[in-house]
């Protein structure tokens, strides 16, 4: 069973609550060394990497921009 600190630290990681706040530094330090939290941390990181791989590639949207502009600039009928 994971120690309570691991549960709180992993939750803070998933919540994106490690950027700031009184406990962020404490949790970041815990996650840095904790062997038990490592698989969870690795899974969330892999999830983010997968999302960027799937949805990250940029497409050329110039044609879409032109169509949007044509619609917006159309004089009211």
């Amino acid at each position: 069973m994971k120690a309570p600190i691991c549960r709180h630290a992993c939750r803070a990681l998933a919540e994106g609550a490690l950027e700031s706040g009184p406990q962020a530094l404490f949790f970041r330090f815990h996650l840095w060394y904790c062997w038990y939290c490592w698989p969870y941390k690795r899974q969330l990181r892999a999830l983010g990497d997968a999302a960027r791989e799937v949805w990250g590639p940029r497409r050329d949207t110039r044609a879409v921009e032109d169509r949007v502009l044509a619609q917006l600039m159309r004089p009211p009928s």
């Binding site: 899974q43 997968a50 791989e53 949805w55 940029r58």
Partner: protein, 189 residues
């Protein structure tokens, strides 16, 4: 100061301000719509609706938030509406596509699944399927945080939630996806 001037130009519907707005924001909006699971044609329709709604609301836009945040807020509302509207069509499209896909090039019934399924990468299929199980706010929050790298403040403005609520949304989104992927192929490794 620059934001205030830009907001005034947009309220006055100056063509150059509108063009700048569209050129700078179409790509992130279009990619976000794709990230929300819409097909390209629907994503484009959604982006057009967002800009039209923005210009309609322009007289009330005072530049307190950035145009980008304002536009993403509209996208969030519009995507929920479009998804509801598309719900019936999607189910019908899926039946049609599956039915058509079971016939080979000679028009003969094939017991094999459509080839297209094999072309999609396993990861993409699983992640997109699992993302389909998220609510609209969870999906947009996850996409904007992970792919676009939006800040907490910006996400709170876009979704119209407090920081505490945003934490819950992100926690649920990440864990739903993690659980779903874990159940399907042993989880992200």
């Amino acid at each position: 100061m620059e934001d205030v001037v830009a907001a005034a130009d947009l309220r006055a519907r100056r063509p150059e301000a509108i063009e700048r707005l569209v050129r700078e924001n179409t790509a992130p909006l279009f990619h976000a719509a794709l990230g929300l699971g819409f097909r390209e044609s629907d994503a484009e329709e959604l982006v057009q609706d967002v800009f039209v709604a923005f210009l309609e609301a322009a007289p009330r836009f005072e530049g307190h938030s950035t145009p980008r945040t304002f536009l993403f807020g509209i996208l969030y509302n519009k995507s929920s509406n479009l998804r509801r509207r598309r719900l019936k069509e999607v189910s019908e499209d899926e039946v049609d596509a599956r039915y058509d896909g079971r016939f080979n090039a000679w028009g003969i019934w094939s017991p094999k699944p459509p080839e297209q399924a094999a072309l999609d990468s396993e990861l993409k299929t699983h992640l997109e399927e699992c993302a389909g199980g998220l609510s609209e706010d969870q999906r947009l929050a996850f996409y904007l945080r992970e792919v676009e790298g939006e800040s907490t403040d910006s996400l709170c403005n876009i979704l119209g939630v407090s920081g505490t609520n945003l934490r819950v949304i992100l926690f649920r989104a990440r864990n739903k996806l993690r659980d779903c992927l874990e159940a399907r192929w042993g989880g992200p490794r």
